[in-house]
């Protein structure tokens, strides 16, 4: 489904991703683990076109999307819920969600049942339904995070990229986010997940990659990584 080969990316002259290769098979959840500054967000940005990769190739569903602009990549079916939520503050919750479906409402992707999907997102996140008419900028952090996820889902994506969906949330809400990720997985949605709670991420994921200083240090089935002593020591210590 999503294939990344020998990806390099840089900010200015400083290269932060060195030769990353990873794969997200259809219907699977893959998680990317790594400490702060390892390059998880940068990987996602390079995949979704927010920054141009400086080398390597990325393909979605067999289609080469390397170097395309983010709007073209979205229309190719890749949804990215970015780090820091990035909701449209002056627009209502409903408008934010509808914009998630922009390619379906205009051109580039099959329209399908946008209103039905909107109803399903509201079902998944009842809080958003209560706040449907409210400006997104006035939502709480947790609600904004749900909105960012819901907005990405509205694309009806081939692949969903989630960058730290639990960032800054209260413990109870963190559990809720992981419950929702599991539910999305049950619906067969293909996902690449970055999470600070590595143990919980490996719990829900099928496969995992460990990123260290912009390189893939190791990878394997999620269950196997969970039991790996080195991974345990470095990433599964006190968290969660």
């Amino acid at each position: 489904m999503l294939q990344i080969q020998n990806l390099h990316a840089a900010y200015g002259k400083v290269e932060v991703l060195h030769d990353i290769s990873l794969e997200v098979p259809k219907g699977k959840v893959v998680t990317l683990i790594g400490s702060n500054g390892a390059g998880k967000t940068t990987t996602m940005r390079a995949v979704s076109g927010m920054i141009k990769p400086s080398g390597g190739s990325i393909s979605l569903n067999g289609k080469n999307i390397t170097g395309l602009t983010s709007n073209k990549i979205a229309r190719a079916g890749l949804a990215h819920s970015p780090e820091g939520r990035r909701v449209f503050a002056t627009l209502s919750v409903t408008d934010n969600l509808l914009l998630g479906a922009f390619p379906r409402l205009t051109f580039g992707r099959e329209r399908g049942d946008v209103q039905g999907d909107l109803a399903r997102v509201f079902e998944l996140f009842p809080r958003l339904k209560e706040r449907a008419g409210q400006q997104a900028g006035t939502l709480s952090g947790g609600e904004q995070q749900m909105l960012a996820m819901g907005r990405a889902l509205m694309l009806n994506p081939e692949v969903l990229l989630l960058d730290e969906p639990s960032m800054g949330l209260a413990p109870l809400l963190v559990n809720e986010v992981f419950r929702i990720i599991a539910e999305l997985k049950g619906r067969g949605i293909t996902m690449l997940l970055v999470e600070q709670f590595a143990a919980a991420a490996l719990e829900v994921a099928d496969y995992g990659y460990v990123l260290e200083n912009g390189r893939i240090a190791c990878h394997g089935p999620a269950q196997q990584l969970k039991d790996d002593p080195a991974v345990k020591a470095a990433y599964l210590g006190a968290s969660h």
Binding site: T69, N71, R86
Partner: protein, 290 residues
Amino acid sequence: MEILAQLIVSGIALGMIYALIAFGYQLTFATSGTLNFGQGEALMLGALVGLTLVGHMSYWLMIPLVLVFGALQGIFVERVGVQPAIKTKSEFGWIMTTISLAIIFKNVAENIWGHDDITFPSPLPTEPLQFMGIRVLPMEILVVVGALAIMLAVELFNRKSIYGKAVVATSNDRDAAGLMGINTGMVITFSYALSSMTAAFAGVLVAPLTLTGATMGVVLGLKAFAVAIIGGLNSGMGVIVGGLILGIAETTTGYYVSTGYKDVPGLLLLLLVLAIKPAGMFGKSVIKKV
């Protein structure tokens, strides 16, 4: 008292023209953080193209053509002057390019339409209407109605259509808008088209009330800029109120003090606003995004 009322009425029409040009400044600032310093010239070109067209057709038929012309002119400015500056992340490049293009437009207009001011035939009766002793030109009413109509149309487009929402999303967060599949480069080009279109429209609205000529845009563009700053670069209500304040300050000062000083109160107000509330009287202060 009657004189004051009269001055206010005349100031309103003038103020709405300022508001309309200032509205154009806001449109491009919202999506791209850049301004077209040739807004006055876009107005001037609209008025002169309109003048040429009314030689062949009615004023009302001319308006849609001028709107199309204005949009194309805006696209040209964005493609030639602004887009390269945004692409190279040049922080101030667009200031120089839009000013340069404005000068070029003025020179071209002087070569085509000459240096002298020309009278623009009024499409409406030039006899003022009387309301309780106050005289109002039908053209002044058209200015107010026309300006409000186009601003309302843009507002409705932004609120109701998915494309309008895409414009607002781009203003909110350009990168995130890109992730939604919105071609934000196109949105910025579109905002320039819309901005120059409103200026060209302002040109054919104001032309029958003033004289038309290659230099007519310079002062109007500058004053509208003051209005955009006074009202706030991100407040639709702000430009209307700011425009009206400036327009009325101008007509009243012109009468009670001297026409030589008519621009002073507006500029004083500008300095005052900049000192006290730099985001504008109605502006929401925006934390500069990185």
